[in-house]
């Protein structure tokens, strides 16, 4: 009999892309005393290492390779290549995809794509909405709504889409039949659909962020941002957190289960124009009315790059699957490669910068002469950037923008109707609850080491809670008398203000008395300073008559 072959586990050089966070520490395993647990953990670690190695090995077997645009010598600059040259240089099937629709009447247009990238949703500001299979050139639904349309998005598949209209938000089916009028979503300017949670998130003029579950029809959560009209919105595809931009320059991060933002980032000195997040959920790019472009690492909320002085304010920003950064300013569209990397050499710059090699010059650029870009979206799984502008929409060919190898069990651009139906049922079964949206999507199934119940022992915990009560009982939480502060800044004053409940109780009287005492002492101090009284002066009269006060 042949000896049983032991599988060889190799450490591969591309392996760290496949590693999952939150793995068990080896040292910690050695510290555990439970032998059964130890053996089990050891086996798990081994299995994990094997799986990661195996997954990394499949990387070499991927059938497609991504595109590129490369200069052949020093003199050539990729950003000087025109679209017409690119379309002439690529194969026919790609050239056919460089769509250019002239729609002069109902613009400016807002363009959006389905998750598979097969369908395009156009919505003109003046009420023209069209859903189409853009590769085949088949129109699915066309609506003339006769009212303003601000945004539109496909829901779980290309079968349904939502349109943010003048007052309400509406849901239509693939033939354009109106299915729902979402009367709770008023004056919406931005729509986002969270595919794994089946949530439609809306925000707009009212400053409310609302989540509607499209599978059950329930309004899951509505939160008031308290920051005025929402000027920009996008979802983080990695953890489903919504990023909202506001007119005071902050970007706030929201989860439907929290009434307050998870984080606030001051990203511009004027209103935020647009936000984009890459698919790994690591980086965020924002443009503001103050002509700034900023790139953030949102894992630790640190600024990676800040470009403060764009010639004109960036109106739209977008990040492709491969990490290309696209920014539009009026008629201009500019793209950078490697802009999401750390270091000064990766900071996006304009022009050739006098031939300095360590500057990140644009990868590509395009000008819509006499036009204005309204919005832009990268087409999933294609080397295309869809641009909605004043007079229709255009697909720019951007080599190297799209993910070349799709996973058919996740999103399949070539799915049949049968597959789409099955996929929908399966994704509904695996629908994630709305309240699981957190900054770290992998926190599920982990022990929260920062929770006070695990961090502190029961004794410590009880001491804290009982201690606080005890302090209150003995009035130890009332601040002491401090003569040196100004009366406005007095700790007693703010304490009294905090506890204001329009009830005068013993506690309040005590604080008031303290405050009066402080005031008297302060006045005495002033008098001493002005030499009106000596330092050891005793107000004998006051002392004698004080008992009657």
């Amino acid at each position: 009999m042949a000896p049983t072959e032991k599988r060889v586990r190799k450490t591969r050089d591309n392996q760290d892309r496949f590693e999952r966070p939150g793995q068990f520490d080896k040292k910690e395993r050695k510290r555990t005393k439970d032998r059964k647990l130890k053996a089990n953990l050891k086996r798990l670690d081994k299995e994990y290492a094997q799986t990661v190695s195996d997954a990394a090995a499949t990387d070499y077997l991927l059938p497609e390779s991504s595109g590129y645009l490369e200069a052949e010598d020093e003199m050539e600059k990729t950003f000087k290549v025109r679209q017409s040259e690119i379309v002439g240089g690529v194969d026919v099937s790609t050239a056919n995809k460089a769509l250019d629709l002239k729609l002069n009447e109902f613009g400016p247009y807002y363009v959006n794509y389905s998750r598979t990238g097969t369908h395009m949703l156009l919505s003109g500001r003046k009420g023209h909405v069209a859903s189409m299979d853009w590769r085949k050139g088949e129109l699915r639904a066309e609506l003339f709504l006769n009212e303003t349309c601000h945004a539109a998005t496909f829901l779980q598949s290309e079968q349904f889409f939502a349109v943010a209209q003048k007052k309400y938000t509406f849901i239509y089916d693939h033939e354009g039949v109106e299915l729902h009028r979402l009367k709770q979503h008023i004056d919406v300017r931005h729509l986002e659909f969270l595919p794994y949670h089946y949530l439609l998130a809306t925000a707009g003029e009212t400053g409310w962020l609302k989540y509607q579950d499209v599978s059950t029809g329930a309004l899951v959560s509505e939160t008031r941002t308290k920051l005025g009209p929402t000027t920009a919105m996008t979802q983080n595809p990695w953890n489903a957190v919504m990023h909202l931009g506001h007119s005071n320059g902050t970007v706030t991060l929201w989860s439907p289960s929290m009434p307050d933002p998870l984080a606030r980032i001051l990203s511009a000195r004027g209103p935020i124009n647009s936000i984009a997040i890459d698919r790994s959920g690591y980086y965020m790019a924002t443009t503001g009315k103050d002509k700034s472009l900023k790139i953030w690492d949102i894992r630790n909320f640190q600024e990676l790059h800040s470009v403060e002085n764009l010639p004109t304010p960036g109106t739209n920003v977008s990040i492709s699957d491969t990490g290309l950064l696209a920014v539009s300013r009026g008629p201009h569209v500019t793209l950078w490669k490697d802009a999401l990397k750390r270091g000064n050499a990766a900071k996006p710059c304009f022009g050739s910068m006098g031939g300095k090699s360590d500057r990140n010059t644009p990868y590509m650029s395009h000008l819509f002469a006499g036009n204005k870009v309204n919005n832009m979206k990268f087409v999933p799984f294609e080397d295309l950037l869809g641009i909605g502008h004043e007079s229709g929409m255009t697909n720019l060919v951007i080599p190297g923008a799209g993910e070349a190898n799709y996973d058919a069990l996740e999103i399949n651009p070539y799915e049949t109707a049968k597959q789409r139906q099955e996929q929908e049922v399966r994704s509904l079964l695996d629908k994630l609850p709305a309240d699981t949206i957190t900054l770290d999507p992998n926190s599920l199934g982990m022990v929260d080491k920062t929770a006070s119940s695990t961090r502190l022992s029961a004794k410590e915990l009880s001491e804290i809670t009982i201690g606080a009560e005890k302090q209150k009982k003995k009035n130890m939480d009332i601040p002491g008398v401090d003569v040196d502060t100004k009366s406005k800044n007095s700790g007693l004053r703010s304490f009294l203000r905090k506890k204001t409940r329009n009830v005068i109780d013993e506690r309040k009287m005590r604080v008031q008395a303290q405050l009066d005492k402080e005031k008297a002492l302060r006045q005495r101090k002033v008098k001493v300073q002005h030499n009106e009284i000596s330092e050891d002066h005793k107000d004998l009269v006051g002392e004698a008559l004080g008992r009657f006060s």
């Binding site: 892309r17 496949f18 999952r20 059964k36 997954a55 499949t58 990387d59 991927l62 059938p63 497609e64 390779s65 991504s66 595109g67 590129y68 645009l69 490369e70 200069a71 052949e72 050539e76 990729t78 290549v81 040259e85 690529v90 194969d91 099937s93 790609t94 794994y196 595809p237 990695w238 953890n239 489903a240 698919r279 959920g281 799984f381 294609e382 080397d383 060919v397 080599p399 799209g402 070349a404 190898n405 799709y406 996973d407 058919a408 069990l409 996740e410 999103i411 399949n412 651009p413 070539y414 597959q419 079964l429 695996d430 629908k431 994630l432 699981t436 999507p441 992998n442 599920l444 199934g445």
Partner: protein, 478 residues
């Protein structure tokens, strides 16, 4: 200028014909699979719910059962679908498990049948015949031939049957427990003493007893075939070695042992069912402690049996339930009960470990699934893959509160629920008392749960582990 864009020809991905499978390329890059863990958790939760929805443990009962309680069940180790059962009125039935109908039913003994076993096929002449041994309170052991046609004309359960009876061995005392040697034509009986018999002779070969007034159970090891375990009415477990014809070890526990079963995979381990509501897992090489204690029953454990893989243990209890344990865990993973099932005296795994057979006081022999939600139909590869995937997910997230709650939830009869509550209060108070005693008395030793039931062993075990303190002291003195 070098330009290349993604060139994906739809010819490669879209099937040309209806019958063709479409291409499903994979890309395992984690960035393409967001919410991996959350989605897996949801799948695990759904799988757990489905498992409970499909849980249907009871398959059916065998024929019309017995007229009296079933006190002995014997597996046929060579045949998947044959089973023998015997009841308190001396009737033995031989069953076809596939149809759940009886091959034969005959009165074998006056009074209780106390021991039953199907002898190994390899010992018979042409290796296809089956023999069965039974013993009873009427001081006889009977050897039966159990081939289908032997009992075709037996219709009367009131008179002793002689069809198919090959031989009768007469003893001096009522027998209790009977087991056949795996490879030799010898068998052993319990009772007032342990006797070793051979089928050729009508008198016992030897008497093996050591100490006990009454031996209630005897069991041969199926791997180390000359090892024999017995339980006595003096709360003892005695191990014998037939090669030297002598006992090798004896331990005494606080309460009586009702059943023994050897692990079919690990020859030196065996499990016993005890009167103190627990089953204990022992290593015959060191019986100073149990390897594991199986808790959860609220009355005496009447029978234990290992699954053929050695992974699981089934126990039958006087509390009218059957429980299934993983052999390396302390609490049951499953409890089976029905309204009509009375005190369960016998529970056995089928030889493919997919089913469990139980015999109870109400005279019925019942067939259960060992995995309540499993179905035995032929499955497609996709279905099987899905089930395996779900199994893995359930295992991965088994500690999550919601999943644990759903997978552990069982409806149990109110009597048992009450008994569990009362037992918990009792045990807690005992434990509390012990702790209080230990706090005040200085030299009260801590007795681990796995040693508590042991009163004493005959041969003491030396603790061969190095004693750390002494070593340290040595080092210091050096």
């Amino acid at each position: 200028m070098k330009i290349k864009t993604i060139k994906r020809s739809s010819d490669d991905y879209v099937p040309v014909k209806n019958t063709q499978e479409s291409q499903l390329p994979r890309n395992l890059n984690p960035e393409l699979h967001p919410f991996e863990r959350a989605r897996e958790y949801t799948k695990a939760l759904n799988a757990t719910k489905l498992e409970r929805m499909f849980a249907q443990p009871f398959v059916g009962q065998f024929g019309h059962g017995h007229r009296d309680g079933v006190y002995a069940i014997a597996k046929n180790y060579n045949n998947l679908n044959k089973l023998a059962s015997a009841s308190g009125d001396g009737v033995i039935k031989y069953w076809n498990m596939s149809t759940r109908q009886e091959y034969a039913s005959f009165k074998a003994h006056y009074g209780l049948v106390t021991g039953l076993c199907v002898s190994p096929q390899s010992l018979t002449k042409n290796k296809t015949e089956n023999y069965m041994l039974s013993c009873g309170d009427d001081k006889t052991i009977k050897l039966w031939s159990v081939n289908n046609d032997d009992f075709s004309n037996v219709r009367n359960d009131d008179e002793l049957n002689t069809n198919g009876l090959i031989k009768t061995f007469d003893g001096e005392h009522a027998f209790q427990g009977l087991d056949h040697h795996r490879t030799k034509p010898t068998f052993v009986t319990g009772g007032a003493q342990i006797q070793l018999w051979t089928s050729e002779r009508s008198k016992p070969l030897t008497n093996l007893s050591w100490g006990a007034d009454n031996v209630t159970n005897v069991k041969f090891n199926q791997n180390e075939t000359d090892i024999l375990a017995s339980t006595g009415s003096d709360n003892s477990i005695v191990l014998y070695d037939l090669r030297t014809n002598s006992p090798t070890q004896k331990i005494v526990q606080t309460m009586r042992t009702n059943a023994i079963c050897w692990n079919p995979m690990e020859a030196f381990n065996f499990v016993i069912g005890n009167e103190d509501h627990n089953a204990y897992y022992y290593d015959m090489r060191n019986m100073s402690r149990a390897l594991n204690v199986y808790k959860d029953h609220v009355a005496a454990v009447m029978d234990v049996d290992f699954s053929p893989t050695g992974d699981e243990v089934v126990t039958a209890s006087y509390d009218k339930t059957i429980r299934i344990y993983k052999s390396n865990q302390g609490h049951s993973r499953e409890i089976y009960h029905t309204k009509r099932m009375q005190h369960v005296f016998q529970a056995k795994f089928s030889m493919d470990s997919k089913f469990i057979i139980s015999g109870s006081d109400d005279g019925n022999v019942r067939l259960w699934r060992s995995k309540a939600s499993e179905r035995s139909n032929v499955k497609s590869t996709r279905e099987r893959n899905k089930l395996e995937y779900d199994e893995k997910l359930k295992d991965r997230f088994r500690h999550m509160p919601e999943i644990r709650r759903i997978s552990k939830h069982r409806h149990v009869p109110i009597v048992i629920k009450k008994a569990q509550e009362i037992k918990k209060i009792e045990l807690d108070s005992l434990k509390r008392r012990e702790m209080n005693e230990r706090r005040t008395a200085k030299n009260k030793p801590f007795v681990p749960e796995r040693r508590k039931q042991i009163v004493g062993t005959v041969f003491k075990y030396e603790d061969k582990r190095p004693k750390r303190r002494e070593e340290e002291e040595d080092v210091e003195s050096d």
